[in-house]
Symmetry: C2
Subunit: 746 residues, 2 copies
């Protein structure tokens, strides 16, 4: 992707499409109906009720009046009588849609919204129908939203080109949903909670416009300050990541991605006919893109409240002000779980608080203004706390005590935020009936407001993490590995040149020529060496004597391993012997390995036994690569050896963009890192070399598409260096694999 | 505790107290005031407004009319004029409370509710005041709730002896809160959400009645079907566990425990002056007691909806019915996270569904009744699904599509539950404004109802786990270790006799005589051997020659370890050498260890070096004991060796009640169990022996109070047996330690 080059073109086409979809001068509704229960009627009615300022033309072969507007017999007639039609909404039965699309293209409609269902989600016939729709849009350079969508809403135009039963309040949140029903749920939920939207759309089958296109459309919209998405899959993974990376620099994107479970994926398949990538790949892709991932629908909305305000914290130090000790403790508990810190108030602040609060009020820990606090006491406490330079953000809790003044306190909170616009102020109204008015005051003024402290803290934690990401590590940034400088690149990782790739391709071609899918350990190590990854050299012995000779040449203890393309888990069948120190031991081990293979894997082709030097003692880590069908190669790092699948102590990133800084992050996320960095007096592992190894494996994965999977297990990491001891690599099933395969991951 | 013996006495006193607190014939309000803003006025007014059927007597030295009732000058006068006073509510300033309590005791008041604050939470003076209050109650056999409480509410009596601003709707949930403000929040939140209560109380400072007493009071109350608690600490840990264990057999107890973080604990200290036990101990205690722990306030209420209905699932198979694919996928994702299973519908059910649903409706995976479903289609689908014997519970989702009929569908759900009262049916109303009426219909008929699928699934998962606990493991019970039979006891764990304890005490006395707190490894292993725990024998050598001689006697490879009471982490200072095979190697190792100790722990007292046999290869696990000040000894099991603190792959239980079944559960919970049970072809560890080891260590901890902490690390576990290789034991700081110490955990 070279978006910066295409930028101006993209910009112009986005502008044109944006104008047609969200601010059309003239809208035709094809399939408009006189029956008020029909979608074709509801859309016309919705456009009118929302106060759409442009012209609405119902299209119905019978003509007449529909929802107060004069209907035309066809799109063509509408065009001839009224002029250019920017947007056409299609509500005819699915079989009639391709012809309508064809007609729309012919008369120069810019954007088509296809509400009708009955396309690829319903089987072969539907798929063909959808293909015809796509042909029409391509032929005429028209863009299509859908099919199988609710439509498009813009509260600022205002435009309601949808069949939603309701029109949302105007606000600064844009919502995009792959499921129409979920979009309706969001709208209805928001109505009750007082959440407003700028734009709402569902994307349905994504025959043309997909989630990435919609991001491009929402990016320049000044009314949309945050983007919420419900996604079941992503159509073009790499494009999505590239575009989302750009958009998130301007406005936050919060995504609820469903289909995370295997079961869920099956449901997703039957629902949208889409192939869902593995959840781990989505996680890595969202991280690379800077997308904030909500873990539930509740959290999606909780985060929406937090992110729609423009205020961002500069650090993790949170002050807590409460009229109830219990609420304060719950808040502090959650701060701890979410890796935020309670702010230590400065001496000046503490003295100030002591003068404005009663003597019994606690000012260490949460500031407890006491159960008899009225609004004025909150005002004094908030003023003192927010002025403290040691405070990055604050949470204020209100319980409905006898003295509490919810509405007045809400106003105090709004004023405090206005006086300190640089520090996020979150409110927890711990109650219900008595809090309703206060809640509306706070939400109207964009104070993130929650009924329970834990949800407020979690939302603040996500906001804080997002705000601090990418900033130069501050003193409180935690304990990641080495700091390779601001550009995240060290000299040693750029050395990989064309020759490396040529060597790798050559090895792979030999494997293909041999009609194999799996590389031998020696072949895999050769590929690694070409990419500058240190390995434990292996020599293929075809007899016990040859093995003993190799062992002598290596000098020092050696390991023997079965060499067979068809035995992937060598240890399991007794195919590995370690720490062999004498020629006799090597010969015996050779015989035992060959014997074990013959017994336990009788059908396996055995090439011989590999002889490898034993390395200095170290920690076993795992480095892997899996090629995701949606997002491309993923790099995995974690605890290695037999623990890799048991502990699942792993971190994962896209290979794309994996530099030293990202590698350091990956290593720092695992539990094994606490051991690697020198646990209880042991010398620390050379983490910089480990980081470089990850960068090199990522480079290999990006360079050589034909590699489907890489397992380096174990990689031995010690203070003296890092070595890939064993390597498994497999190629794509069949073919040259130059395109990304669709086979399942290993 | 021998509750069964004391049962009838306890029963009678509970009955008397219960009658006085919740259904008194006559209530006096001491400190009643004419000022409607004063608490002393609000209580009188609340009693009247709630429709309390008994006699209310305001007590005020000036007499007169207060909130519509004639005031008496004193409690004594009230008693003389009106007769026995069951309950007195005290709202006078704290300094006057002890005298009121004394007077109340004298005239035979049974229960005293002290609303006033200003006791132990405020310092020395307050603590003395509280002590005086306790003396008065003890002298007269009166019981006291508080001080520092909101009061007592019973919606069925009805009684509102509190200063809450509102009176809850009647319902089947009892709520107990250590924080008055949190109780008010619960009441206010419930008002808006339509949740009703049977009784509400706050427990404040627990000068007399504590959480365990309140459980005893709520247990026999037929109106209270579930008990919600907000706790900051537990006063008497062992009594709480004993009583809660009994109560939970009759009704569920759901607890939100705050102060889980270190920071939170500090806040709890300054709030109630209570010493909070470690969170891990609470976790183990709640588990032992059968208490359901809510992880947030949101979850507390979510679980309340789920548990107040009497319906319990018989298994983990959940059917999902939805009018929106997206909602179905989110539900299935969460089922997967919560270890529930999507039900596989029987052939008969599938055929039935195919006849009642449109052809496009999906019936594999979630049953998708489609976006155009009205209430009747839900009725048909629910009927088919709930009749399926392969379904244990069901979740029904409703999105506000154009066709949706929320209120009618709610009625359909209520009817379906009535027709299948044996299978929990949970509702998700994915929306807000359009769902309000449906929500009220469902909640009135006790259908657990949520706005988002994830919260519904989590609540159902907790309900399911609670219902299945203690049942004989069904085929879907997961993969715990051995099944020692229904009574959970195997013969080999009862062998520990008095002689074992005598040996242990003898060793400990010698350590005390030596003015030490830490046992030498050899001493600790001797204690373990007395309790039947297999150990790697160690011999204390005082010279290199002596070490070599021991090594020869042991025969085979040995390990050498520094013997010093002041060096606890031996490996860190180079105090351990392994796999020594020759006399020469043993001598050299001896010298190196002594040298290392001299250099790196120059102040340590060194007794010599211990010589131990090397054991067969195995896995390193950890077994530990920590004595919690609130709940007594805790047993910890997990991955051992250097990983123990890094991986935190541990499970934890109270020593009390730790039998083979519990030990098997503990082992099965850890990740390391996947390795122990025979990972990738390796022979499985003898898990039965490991279970017995845990039982024996628990027995030791219960027998010998003076032991403060035990660390067995590593315990070597292999297919040939299980051995404690190294053991650290420490005694209580100073004293004989026969009482539980209050020192912090190691």
């Amino acid at each position: 992707m070279h978006l910066s080059i295409e930028r101006s073109d993209v910009g112009r086409s986005v502008e044109r499409l944006s104008a047609a979809l969200f601010g059309p001068k003239r809208v035709a509704v094809v399939g408009a109906s006189r029956d008020p229960k029909k979608i074709g009627h509801i859309v016309v009615d919705n456009l009118r009720k929302a106060g759409y300022p442009g012209e609405v033309i119902p299209v119905n072969p019978k003509g007449g009046m529909i929802a107060g507007a004069v209907a035309e017999e066809s799109l063509t007639v509408a065009y001839e009588r009224h002029g250019d039609i920017d947007l056409a909404v299609v509500a005819v039965p699915a079989p009639a849609v391709p012809a309508v699309a064809e007609e729309a293209g012919r008369i120069g409609v810019r954007a088509l919204i296809v509400l009708s269902a009955g396309f690829k989600e319903t089987g072969q016939e539907g798929r063909e129908r959808e293909a015809a729709l796509v042909r029409a849009k391509s032929q005429y350079g028209m863009r299509v939203l859908g099919p199988n969508v609710i439509g498009v809403i813009d509260t600022h135009t205002p435009l309601n080109a949808s069949f939603a039963a309701d029109f949302p309040d105007a606000g600064e949140i844009a919502a995009v949903s792959q499921s129409g029903a979920v979009l309706l749920s969001m709208l209805d939920w928001a109505k009750r909670e007082g959440m407003g939207f700028s734009r709402m759309l569902s994307i349905g089958n994504k025959a043309d416009l997909d989630e990435a296109d919609l991001l491009l459309l929402l990016e320049p919209d000044a009314q949309s300050r945050v983007i919420l998405m419900y996604l079941e899959d992503v159509k073009d993974g790499r494009r999505f990541v590239d575009i989302a990376r750009q958009v998130t620099t301007r406005k936050p994107i919060i995504v609820l991605k469903s289909g995370t479970s295997e079961l869920g994926m099956r449901a997703a398949l039957s629902h949208t006919g889409a192939l869902a990538g593995s959840d781990r790949a989505y996680e890595a892709a969202f991280r690379r893109a800077g997308v904030i991932r909500a873990r539930s629908m509740q959290e999606l909305f909780d985060l929406a409240w937090a992110f729609r305000s423009p205020t961002r914290p500069m650090g993790r130090r949170v002050a807590v002000v409460t009229n109830a000790g219990g609420g304060g403790i719950l808040t502090v508990d959650q701060l701890d779980r979410e890796k935020l810190r309670m702010a230590s108030l400065g001496q000046e602040t503490i003295e100030r608080l002591r003068t404005v609060l009663p003597p019994a009020a606690s000012v260490l820990g949460p500031v407890d203004v006491l159960g008899d606090a009225r609004a004025d006491r909150y005002a004094a406490a908030l003023q003192a706390v927010l002025a403290d330079p040691g405070v990055d953000s604050a949470i204020v809790l209100l319980c409905p005590t006898a003295a509490a003044e919810p509405a007045a306190t809400a106003q105090v909170i709004v004023d405090a935020q206005a006086a300190h616009p640089d520090k996020p102020l979150f409110a927890v109204l711990l109650g219900g009936a008595q809090m309703a008015e206060a809640e509306m005051i706070l939400r109207r003024r964009r104070i993130p407001t929650y009924p329970f402290p834990e949800r407020a803290v979690t939302a603040l934690a996500r906001l804080t993490a997002h705000a601090l990401k990418g900033r130069a590590p501050a003193s409180d940034a935690g304990d990641g590995p080495s700091d390779p400088g601001t550009d995240g690149r060290a000299a040693d990782e750029t050395f990989v040149d064309a020759a490396s790739r040529a060597t790798a391709i050559e090895v792979l071609q030999a494997v293909r020529a041999d009609r194999r899918k799996a590389l031998l350990s020696g072949e895999a190590l050769r590929v690694l060496e070409a990419y500058g990854v240190p390995t434990a050299k292996a020599h293929l012995a075809r007899s016990a004597d040859e093995a003993a000779a190799f062992a002598q040449a290596i000098g020092g203890p050696v390991a023997l391993k079965i060499a067979s393309p068809s035995i992937l888990h060598k240890t399991d069948i007794g195919g590995v012997k370690l720490g062999l120190r004498s020629a006799e031991a090597v010969r015996r081990a050779y015989a035992e390995i060959v014997d074990a293979a013959a017994r336990r894997a009788p059908d396996a082709v055995v090439y011989g036994v590999e002889v490898q030097a034993m390395l200095p003692p170290g920690h076993e880590v795992f480095v892997g690569m899996m090629r995701d069908p949606t997002f491309g190669p993923l790099i995995v790092f974690g605890a290695g050896g037999v623990f890799v699948n048991v502990l699942e102590d792993v971190s994962c990133r896209l290979a794309e963009g994996l530099d030293r800084r990202v590698a350091a992050e990956m290593i720092g996320e695992t539990k094994i890192y606490r051991i690697l960095k020198g646990y209880r007096g042991a010398p620390p592992v050379d983490v910089a070399v480990l980081e470089a190894l990850l960068v090199r494996v990522a480079r290999l994965a990006l360079d050589v598409d034909d590699l489907f999977e890489i397992d380096l297990n174990p990689v031995l990491a010690s203070s003296e260096g890092v070595w890939a001891v064993d390597a498994k690599m497999t190629l794509h099933e069949g073919g040259s694999g130059q395109e990304s395969g669709r086979a399942g991951d290993g």
